[in-house]
């Protein structure tokens, strides 16, 4: 395993900032709150950026960058959704999503690195796997949080039903991420491929 270079660190840090902006994109573009099924879903680009981090930075640096995002937010910098920060964000029911980004970036990066020059199909598959990890971990965490430390008994299926509008929007964005990547790779060498 090679040592991280200066360029790795700066790109990792930039993705932390992108995550912070992606989580709160509606602050700058309030109308990105999209109405789906009667409710207004604030469009967050977090899953999108976590998947991109996996593609661009690779499995090791990508997951390290997402861990940095988690730690920095926990340290009180208001970079989580809703411009919040602090350790409580991890205890609250949606904390699992923040934790899952580490694994999203890792596995997406793993797939991208496996195929040396991925096609759009591989990118789409990787993005969808990333999305499934994101929601699988996030919703399970929500279910566990509700039933243990919040002592609210809800069933696993209800936890999922509440997340469906978000899942739809993130599914679309994940596919956008995949098509985006094909364009990026033409213009910019990926970090894990650079010598």
């Amino acid at each position: 395993m090679r040592r991280l270079r200066a360029i790795d660190l700066t790109y990792g840090a930039v993705f932390v900032c992108l995550m912070a902006i992606g989580a709160n994109i509606t602050v700058w573009f309030p109308i990105l709150a999209v109405p789906i099924g009667g409710t207004s879903v604030p469009l967050s680009l977090q899953t999108f950026f976590a998947i991109l981090a996996g593609f661009m930075l690779g499995k090791r640096l990508g997951s390290l960058s997402m861990l940095t995002y988690l730690l920095l937010g926990t340290a009180g910098v208001p970079i989580f959704a809703g411009l919040e920060g602090g350790p409580f964000a991890l205890i609250s029911p949606t904390g699992g999503f923040i934790i899952s980004f580490i694994f999203v970036a890792y596995f997406v990066g793993l797939i991208a690195e496996w195929y040396k020059s991925p096609s759009i199909l591989i990118y789409t598959v990787a993005a969808i796997i990333g999305l499934l990890i994101n929601y699988g971990l996030g919703v399970s965490y929500m279910y566990i949080a509700m039933n243990t430390w919040l002592e609210l008994t809800i069933s696993y299926s209800i936890a999922w039903i509440g997340m469906i509008p978000f899942l739809i929007k993130d599914a679309i964005l994940s596919i956008v991420a995949a098509t985006f990547m094909v364009n990026i790779t033409k213009r910019l060498p990926l970090l894990w491929q650079r010598a």
Binding site: L4, A6, T10, C17, I25, F29, P78
Partner: protein, 267 residues
């Protein structure tokens, strides 16, 4: 908003809580959060409440800052309380209203969970209210140092946290500029079907990426030009030091935990 991005929620001060080593604070809060879940009797809850309030008052952080931390979770607290009121059917009926019956068990449990919530938020926000993100970064770097043995890049992680801290306000300003620039060119972010709104993300992302990656490249170049070679042999500007007051606070906290387990209900 930009100010809060650099210093987090930090409220400057000169109290004992401010002066404690950040590692001490993180360790104590970590164990406090765990022990909160062990409390199950009135006495054990009181022990925890007294400790939390004592910390709050010694920190001398103005109350409004603490209340600000509570605002996003009021809803969650009230919601859990009311849900328990309706759902838990234990103990005796104490209140009868229309078709609803409120049981004493529900009230007690609702209260206990609200208090637990309140304590968790109070104590965790005290950490971020009295410690700057930079101090926490230093503490994390130091506390994770054993992971160096398994070749986990601890120093790099901490450096990445510092770099992000410097970039976040800049890139957020950049996003603001981009949104104005695109609006002045007539991009409509306000209306339209979902497909168009998602498409509107692209003219945002492309300039944001260009600017973000350019900054990353430039900083990396600057670091290399100044001879950055990783963590080995690097000295620190800020040194962490455990003082007598940290040891005293650890001892006090050990007493609190002992008291909690003594007053706990074991039946």
């Amino acid at each position: 908003m930009n100010n809060s991005l650099i210093i987090g929620q930090y409220v400057p001060g000169n109290s004992l809580v401010h002066k404690l080593d950040p590692r001490t604070k993180i360790t104590i809060i970590f164990f406090y959060v765990i022990t909160v879940f062990f409390a199950n009797s009135l006495a054990s809850y009181s022990v925890l409440v007294v400790f939390a309030l004592a910390c709050m008052f010694t920190s001398r952080v103005p109350l409004r800052f603490i209340m600000k931390g509570l605002t996003p979770v009021w809803f969650l607290i009230i919601f859990t309380f009311i849900l328990h009121l309706f759902v838990t059917k234990e103990g005796t009926v104490i209140f009868d209203f229309w078709i609803f019956e409120f049981y004493s068990g529900g009230v007690i449990q609702g209260f206990a969970i609200s208090i637990r919530f309140f304590l968790l938020i109070l104590v965790t926000s005290l950490l971020t209210l009295t410690t700057t993100p930079i101090e926490i970064t230093d503490a994390i770097e130091d506390m994770l140092r054993p992971l160096n043995k398994v070749r986990f890049p601890v120093h790099e992680l901490a450096l990445m946290m510092s770099i992000s801290l410097r970039f976040i306000p800049t890139l957020m300003q950049e996003t603001d500029k981009i949104s104005r620039a695109q609006a002045s060119r007539g991009v409509d972010f306000r209306t339209g079907p979902i497909k168009d709104r998602i498409k509107a993300v692209v003219p945002l992302l492309v300039p944001l990426f260009v600017s973000a990656f350019k900054r990353a490249e430039e900083l990396a170049m600057a670091m290399e030009a100044r001879g950055y070679q990783g963590g080995e042999g690097r000295t620190k500007l800020r040194e962490l030091k455990i003082e007598l007051r940290d040891i005293m606070v650890y001892l006090l906290f050990a007493c609190v935990i002992a008291l909690l387990f003594l007053t706990r209900n074991y039946s």
